[in-house]
């Protein structure tokens, strides 16, 4: 008899947490097998219906949120825990259970908020570093860039519809080819020194020499960034570089950033709808990641839409 009540307790808890019944209550329900088959049947239909309310987490109204659970428990646990059980003992048990649920929910909130805080801290650090880098880029001067070199990639680079060969990313080896890392670092050093126009040339040369290297996606990304800060700026070439990255390396870690940049480019060009598509993609496809682009896209939307 005593362990029937334990089973009820376990089932009552499982009921209160809704979906947990999927495993825990299924187990609990099985283990009471013979003795409490009837009780399990009584619990089962109501526990499956409890899946629905449990999905909306009553964060804002947690004081009221516990109310629906109470009648369920009353219904489930007849005053049995101490045998014949007086109403007082039953009420006490109910109160304890309510308190436990309350503490559990609060515990969950604390855990989630602590996690949120950690994530936000990490994100704000990332954003700071990113911002610092951008500011550094903006503060940098402009070198003398011949117009031909700025236009050249725009002509040679395939447009987004031209569907750059899909097989090439697969063929791209994960190992850097000899000399590739040095060439990339040399080009990247120009970015850091804010010699943007020289950097454009260097990355264009890099892409010619290493069309499917380990750093190729990065090179496309940097070219996109550089076209926006080189003088004269070339938004169309930048757009094509970012699109190239998207088409050829859809899984690359720079993709969310490229999507955000594409959104901004289209916005600057006055195409608000197209811009919004890219910004929404950042949020919908990378919302669950730590990518700084998600926050940037959200901020951009809230400021401009």
């Amino acid at each position: 008899m005593r362990y029937v009540s334990k089973a009820l307790l376990a089932n009552g808890l499982a009921l209160a947490v809704g979906p947990f019944c999927f495993l825990a209550a299924a187990q609990a329900q099985d283990y009471i097998d013979v003795e409490a088959e009837r009780a399990a049947q009584a619990v089962n239909p109501s526990s499956s219906s409890a899946v629905q309310p449990a999905q909306s987490y009553p964060v804002t109204s947690y004081g009221i949120g516990s109310a629906p659970a109470a009648p369920a428990i009353q219904g489930e646990s007849p005053p049995s825990p101490v045998g014949g059980g007086s109403g007082n003992a039953g009420q006490l048990l109910m109160k304890v259970q309510q308190l436990q649920q309350e503490v559990m929910r609060l515990n969950g909130m604390v855990e989630e908020q602590a996690h949120e805080l950690r994530t936000l801290k990490a994100q704000s650090l990332e954003r700071y570093i990113d911002l610092d880098r951008r500011l550094g880029l903006l503060a940098g001067g402009s070198g003398g860039l011949s117009p031909e070199t700025a236009v050249e990639p725009a002509d040679s680079a395939p447009t987004d519809e031209a569907a750059a060969p899909r097989s090439s990313p697969a063929a791209a080896t994960s190992d850097a080819q000899p000399g590739e890392a040095q060439a990339y670092q040399a080009a990247y050093a120009l970015v850091r020194n804010q010699q943007f126009n020289q950097a454009v040339t260097a990355f264009q040369q890099f892409l010619q020499d290493y069309p499917s290297g380990r750093f190729t996606p990065n090179a496309h990304y940097w070219l996109g960034e550089l076209y926006l800060v080189a003088s004269p700026t070339d938004a169309e070439a930048a757009r094509q570089s970012f699109m190239l990255l998207l088409d050829m390396y859809p899984d690359d870690s720079k993709v969310p950033d490229a999507l955000f940049k594409l959104g901004r480019i289209h916005y600057t060009k006055g195409n608000r709808e197209r811009a919004r598509e890219f910004l929404d993609r950042v949020i919908s496809e990378y919302g669950s990641t730590n990518s700084a682009a998600v926050k940037l896209a959200q901020d951009f939307i809230s400021e401009n839409y």
């Binding site: 334990k6 808890l13 947490v17 283990y31 097998d33 559990m104 515990n107 969950g108 989630e112």
Partner: protein
């Protein structure tokens, strides 16, 4: 030529025998975009009568099931070499096969079977692997799986997990009375099922010892749940627990000395450790919430478990040395029944999103979560010893079936069963020879 007919005839017989025997039938539902074409040439049979097993067929099916290979149809093969001298690369280039596997099978003294095999790279025109497997003729399929493991590792760099086995529970509904529960052991491809335990009372939570020689499970045969340990070779059984209330979710520690389990003898379900030699119990969690489904990290230093101490079931990690408990999952309103890959990095679990239960994978380093399955009501994930595939239970129609998905979500196959419901698969560790 006579030789060849014998091989083909043997293949037909072996196939027929296999399909009659097999309880699980594999259907590939989704493969990789660019699987590598490979020709597994029927192995030459150097013996009398019919060969005990069509080894090439077994290997062919293994490679196909991985989703990473696209075996060439036997009918498309322009030649059927069985020695290196007979391999002409142009034959294989003509049918766009990147690799060719050939082999020879012989049996000595009625029982000792030997499979010799050679793997050729058609593009490089070179032999890239050769070797042999030897064993009892009754283990013909296992020997073939080992060849597949070697080929897989040579071509992908990841050890194969074809020569492993599965445990699962099947339930035959009996409208007139009590259901039938069966605990079944089968090869990783579902072939050669052996019923280890049959009961009118539920059987649950089968699991493997780290050396693959013992199993443990929960059986209600005494009308209340108890954990049993069973030696596979002898069938010897030992009842480990008989506590009041819940006795469930056994999980062997990586060193094999300890078993984590869930007991509710003191009221609420909590996690305990049992020293398997002394049978001494240590309580690990002490919480009025439900703590259940322990899973060991491969280093044996911490345990993952499911708890609703935060109001909803989520995965927590318990550090056995410091005693600290940390919540691990934050995405979604429900995460339960964690299983950890051997690398200690990938964790698979049941994850609820949009009211549906899916199998999801969380990278424990980056904490990124990826939902792997698109079926509903997915449960009981179990990860292959090489970490490449996840086996899980799901529903097809109103029946429970087993399905598998690769850890990148790219490859999917199902193992539908002929009759009854199948659930709670447990993938074995690597098995010693």
């Amino acid at each position: 030529m006579k030789h060849l007919t014998a091989v083909i005839l043997g293949a037909v017989i072996a196939l027929a025998a296999m399909s009659a025997r097999a309880q699980l039938v594999i259907e590939i539902t989704q493969g990789m975009d660019n699987p590598t074409p490979i020709a597994v040439v029927p192995f030459a049979w150097q013996g009398t009568g019919a060969p005990p097993e069509d080894a090439a067929q077994v290997i062919d099916a293994d490679l196909a099931r991985s989703g990473q290979f696209d075996p060439v149809d036997r009918g498309d093969m322009l030649a059927r070499p069985s020695t290196q001298e007979q391999v002409f690369y142009r034959d294989w280039r003509a049918i766009n096969s990147d690799y060719v596997l050939i082999g020879r099978v012989s049996v000595t003294g009625q029982v000792q079977m030997r499979i010799e095999y050679e793997l050729f790279d058609v593009n490089r025109q070179a032999r890239v692997l050769h070797g042999y497997e030897e064993g009892h003729v009754n283990e013909a399929r296992m020997l073939s799986h080992r060849v597949a493991d070697e080929v897989y590792e040579t071509l992908t760099g990841i050890p194969g997990a074809f020569a492993t086995r599965l445990l699962y529970v099947s339930v035959t509904r009996n409208p007139a009375g009590k259901d039938y529960y069966r605990l079944t052991l089968a090869d990783a491809d579902g072939a050669r099922p052996i019923v280890l335990l049959e009961s009118r009372e539920p059987i649950m939570a089968p699991t493997w010892s780290p050396d693959g020689k013992h199993i443990a499970y929960v059986s209600f045969e005494t009308s209340r749940p108890a954990i049993y340990r069973q030696e596979l070779a002898t069938g010897a059984r030992e009842q480990l627990t008989n506590f009041r209330g819940l006795n469930g979710a056994p999980a062997w520690s990586p060193d094999g000395s300890t078993m984590a389990m869930v007991l509710s003898k003191d009221g609420n379900p909590d996690i305990y450790l049992m020293d398997l030699r002394s049978k001494q119990l240590t309580q690990v969690t002490r919480h009025y919430a439900i703590d259940t489904e322990p899973a060991w990290m491969p280093d044996g230093r911490s345990l993952m478990f499911t708890s609703d101490r935060g109001g909803r079931p989520q995965i927590y990690r318990y550090d056995l040395r410091s005693g600290a408990t940390d919540r691990v999952t934050f995405e979604g309103s429900y995460n339960a029944r964690a299983r950890i890959a051997q690398d200690g990095r990938n964790m698979v679990m049941v994850h609820q999103s949009g009211g549906r239960f899916h199998i999801a994978l969380q990278d424990l380093v980056s904490n990124r979560l990826q939902v792997l399955t698109s079926t509903e009501l997915d449960e009981s994930p179990s990860i292959a010893p090489n970490g490449s595939m996840v086996l899980y239970g799901t529903k097809s129609g109103d029946r429970g079936i087993l399905a598998a998905v690769s850890v990148d979500g790219g490859v999917k196959f199902r193992l539908p069963v002929r009759e009854g419901d199948v659930r709670e698969p447990a993938w074995s560790p690597y098995l010693s020879r």
